[in-house]
């Protein structure tokens, strides 16, 4: 019947109570009025879509409020803020240390690399947050919403924070001269500059940064889904893979492995993220699926 397909979509998108209160009556009106002609049907369809959008907006607002008001979620938010703040602080400290010549030692310079690495590893923090929050009735929406916000913050961090501080550090370091000098020519450019230059390597860098941010959502989704799977061995595989990813990223130069032919393909930037999303999707299929009602 008319509107059935739309009702099925809505049922998957919003929670049961929101569907029953806001969307289902609009669909019923659409079906009731469809006998009156095409114009009424069109108005009915518009009404259902607006009701669906309204229900989604209300649910997102409620989830955001819960994220900010709940103790566990507040803890996760604080942890993320501290993590991002530390990375910024580390960059700023190293930059300041450069002007203090007694501090200009190689170990300090080596620490400079840490934020660039952590910027890539940071998205997996979403996995932990998702696992911590998974027993909450509003976990699903909250975690996905928070991971989208985190993806934007990580993007800003990588694109603006790291590139700006690293470049300033490199220029100052080169001007000062001495051991451990990093050439200012090896620039880390923000996305806008990478896009403007448009060489092959720039395009790879550009895609890599977007992929890193997008992976935050994939990690969060995977974290949520794994905690709902009842098969222990599958959960164990997920946890081992998670720990392995962090270890590999810190210990093994992954980019060097992908460069073994001397040409890094652009898909390599999204390849790992695609695998992550496929894993998250499969885990979701195996998990108990149902959005709980509002607590």
């Amino acid at each position: 019947m008319i509107g059935d397909q739309l009702a099925r979509i809505a049922r998957r998108v919003v929670r049961d109570d929101s569907y029953g209160l806001m969307v289902a009556p609009a669909v019923a009106d659409l079906q009731f009025e469809s006998r009156a002609g095409w114009f009424s049907t069109l108005r009915g369809y518009l009404g259902v879509w607006r009701a669906l959008c309204g229900a989604i907006a209300i649910e997102l607002a409620a989830d955001a409020r819960r994220t900010l008001s709940n103790d566990g979620a507040r803890l996760a938010t604080t942890q993320t803020t501290v993590m991002v703040g530390t990375l910024f602080g580390l960059q700023a400290t190293l930059f300041a240390a450069n002007f203090w010549h007694e501090w200009r030692l190689n170990p300090v310079l080596m620490l400079l690399i840490a934020p660039s690495i952590l910027g890539s590893v940071l998205p997996v923090g979403a996995f932990t947050s998702a696992a911590v929050l998974s027993d909450k009735p509003y976990a699903h929406r909250t975690v996905i919403l928070a991971s989208i916000v985190a993806a934007v913050l990580i993007f800003l961090f990588i694109d603006q924070g790291v590139t700006r501080f690293n470049q300033q550090f490199r220029e100052a370091d080169a001007a000062a001269g001495g051991p451990g000098t990093i050439a200012p020519g090896s620039r880390e450019l923000p996305l806008a500059d990478l896009y403007a230059r448009g060489t092959r390597q720039d395009r790879i860098d550009l895609h890599s940064r977007l992929a890193i941010c997008a992976s935050t959502i994939g990690w969060a989704w995977l974290g949520l889904s794994l905690t709902r799977i009842r098969r222990r061995w599958l959960v164990a595989v997920g946890v081992v893979a998670y720990a392995g990813y962090i270890a590999a990223y810190s210990a093994v130069p992954i980019m060097a492995i992908t460069l073994f032919r001397g040409r890094l393909p652009i898909w390599s930037a999204w390849g790992a993220v695609a695998v992550l999303f496929i894993a998250a999707y499969l885990a979701q299929r195996l998990a108990r699926r149902r959005l709980p009602a509002h607590a």
Binding site: P25, D29, G47, W49, I58
Partner: protein, 104 residues
């Protein structure tokens, strides 16, 4: 002192309660009766929010034998909803006094 949380009510919610004061109505009837003040796209979002606040209650229309499609929903104002409406109307009238009248 214990803080009392006052219920909030929007202009649109007042309008819905005014319409429901005269009797139970379907969502589309509310849209028609409001003469354009309520839109069909937003009326159910408003009604859903009001039901969560306890201002209205609803029940599904029983489907006739052999009928297909989703059942329509009939809305009724609760005593609490009407009480909140009356209280806010009194407040609005009180605040609408001209300064000269208020001084008296």
């Amino acid at each position: 002192m214990t803080a009392i949380k006052l219920p909030s009510i929007s202009v649109r919610e007042c309008l819905v309660l005014e319409q429901l004061r005269t009797g139970d109505k379907y969502g589309l009837e509310l849209v028609t009766a409001s003469r354009g003040a309520l839109k069909r796209g937003t009326v159910y979002v408003t009604l859903g929010r009001m039901e969560r606040k306890g201002f209205v209650e609803s029940r599904q229309e029983p489907l006739a034998a052999g009928a297909i499609g989703l059942p329509r929903r009939l809305y009724r104002a609760t005593a609490y909803g009407l009480k909140v409406l009356d209280a806010y109307q009194l407040l609005r009238e009180a605040l609408a006094l001209r300064p000269s009248e208020a001084r008296g």
